[in-house]
Amino acid sequence: MNAQPLLSVRDLRVGFTTEAGRLQAVDGVSFELAAGEVLAIVGESGSGKSVTAQTILGLTRSPNATIEGSVALRGAELLDADEAELRKVRGAEIAMIFQDPMTSLNPVQRVGAQLVEAIRAHNSGASKDAARQQAIELLDAVGIADAERRVDDYPHEFSGGMRQRAMIAMGLTLEPEVLIADEPTTALDVTIQAQILRLLEDLNRERNLATILITHDLGVVAEMADRVLVMYAGRVVEAGTLDEIFYDPQHPYTWGLLGSLSRLDRPRPRRLPQISGAPPSLLAPPSGCAFHPRCPHEFSKCSSLPGLEARLEDAPAHADRCWLTPAQKRELREVEGRIGLEAPTP
């Protein structure tokens, strides 16, 4: 590990006061991101993965939000930064792309004009022509054919995949070091998804662009990530390298996620292994381990919250929040010859 990571998130807590009560959307999330690394944050809706990412860029600041902890970019604290300072970080050092490229682009402005605006907002010295030329180069770099002509199209003239490419181009405008991609391919068809993932991978490799990939899709994770955080109800329940998470998962929720996939490269099981119940309401989360009401392996200890700790001797960076011993886990996670979560008896 480097002395100073590129991005370091320490004990991040984000709470919101809503009409229905106070909820803790992110509850003590910590991670580090090194230059050129791809970190995947996996979780379902309400797990806090998007709120974590948005908070890094100060996008969750609002009168009803309480944000605690630390987000440091090369040691500089971002949570204390004012809007003017954050504006210098956004785009220039950390860029973000979103799930739905149609709602992230301005429908009444030409794609090129939107890029030019971004370029000139941060570099007022750039002439219109130079900015336009740079916009064309960016569109070309993200694989938009005939960029010279397409730069004057409106977003609706682009296909879904092209819009996402345009969004990525916009994210790259200022050559950031970190790209946060929040479900970048969820709205896209699989063939287009494969192209966008390839593009993100190339950017990661060629520009040494550190990437935080937020997704619910373990297939996408397997294609791209170096390290993985699995989130559940606002907390990280397991953290490890890609192979550790897929081949030696320690948390029952991870087993459930892996087990419930319908895999094309395996004979199909008679029944899909399922996780029973539903994710908890953050307004009234279960005490202790938030997953215990859905966990078939739940026992007396689970009513208190386990820490996120490395519990395996040979994998100091592989941490999980589960009270079971590694030996118990190895045995319990095998369901019909594969990793899964046995459905609890009703």
């Binding site: 809706s45 063939t191 998804q193 899709d217 297939g219 397997a222 319908s262 094309l264 490269d265 539903a278």
Partner: protein
């Protein structure tokens, strides 16, 4: 064979006109959403329909159900022609075919209670009323994994997965023969998807249902389907048993589609990328 077939669609075409002009609409072109499609679904069978957005999957479903009138072609339900029937003539067929929608947030009326949402088809078709209706609806709710007490609740009180269960209860209320499920799990969380797929599986066994199951997630389609039809640009480019289509695809487009599906296994995924890079 034809006695075994529940649905037989032949040379089905659905074109949408593209119109231009202010006062007089001139038809300048057509979108060939469904372009000469023939398919059959056997009784008790699940036919999976895969394809990308814009391939015509949903239009095909709606045309099979006669929710959209086909431009030409024939749809036979248990051997009887239903293409071109009037609303009145369709009525007896309607209760035999039901639909489950993608978005459980948009497909349930927010002002109606669950009891009414699930009970309305029974009431409208004159199957049950009063106390009998209530009992039947409560049984249906329990059948789909909800509880009888949910009868008086409103849709907003439920999670996405529970809402989809309400939509399923409504669809099976009239004991239909055919259920068309258009992306029934794609709006749901991963941990909930398997629950709904297993529920659909159980209901099929119990009620002898026939499914036309539409999804863009090929893994899910392969799991639930007996046969799979692959749709591309309004045409069905390949049909075969689920395993055959997924393991030995014959059509170039099917191959491309399958090669794009991410493999949730890092080693396999790396191996595939090396193969693609080498080949």
């Amino acid at each position: 064979m034809s006695a075994e077939l529940l649905i037989e669609a032949t040379n089905l075409v659905k074109h949408f006109p593209i119109k231009k002009g202010l006062l007089i609409d001139r038809e300048v072109d057509q979108v060939r959403a469904v372009d000469d499609v023939s398919l059959t679904i056997g009784r008790g069978e699940t036919l999976g329909l895969v394809g990308e957005s814009g391939s015509g999957k949903s239009t095909l479903c709606r045309t099979v159900l006669q929710l959209l009138a086909p431009t030409s072609g024939s749809v036979r339900f248990e051997g009887e022609e239903i293409a071109g029937l009037s609303r009145r003539q369709m009525r007896p067929f309607r209760r035999q075919m039901q639909m489950i929608f993608q978005d459980p947030y948009a497909s349930l009326n927010p002002r109606k209670r669950v009891g009414q949402i699930v009970g309305d088809p029974l009431k409208l078709q004159g199957v049950a009323s009063g106390g009998e209706l209530r009992t039947q609806v409560q049984e249906l709710l329990e059948r789909v994994g909800l509880s009888a007490e949910h009868y008086n609740r409103f849709p907003h009180e439920f999670s996405g997965g529970q809402r989809q269960r309400i939509g399923i209860a409504r669809a099976i209320a009239l004991k239909p023969k055919l259920i068309v499920a258009d992306e029934p799990v794609s709006a749901l969380d991963v941990s909930i998807q398997a629950q709904i797929i297993n529920l659909l599986d159980d209901l099929q066994d119990e009620l002898g249902l026939t499914y036309l199951f539409v999804a863009h997630d090929i893994g899910v389609v392969r799991h639930i389907s007996d046969r799979i039809a692959v749709m591309h640009n309004g045409k069905i480019v390949e049909t075969g048993s689920a395993d055959q289509v997924c393991e030995q695809p014959a059509d170039a487009y099917t191959k491309q589609l399958l090669a794009s599906v991410p493999i949730p296994d890092p080693r396999e995924s790396r191996a595939r990328r090396q193969r693609t890079a080498a080949g």
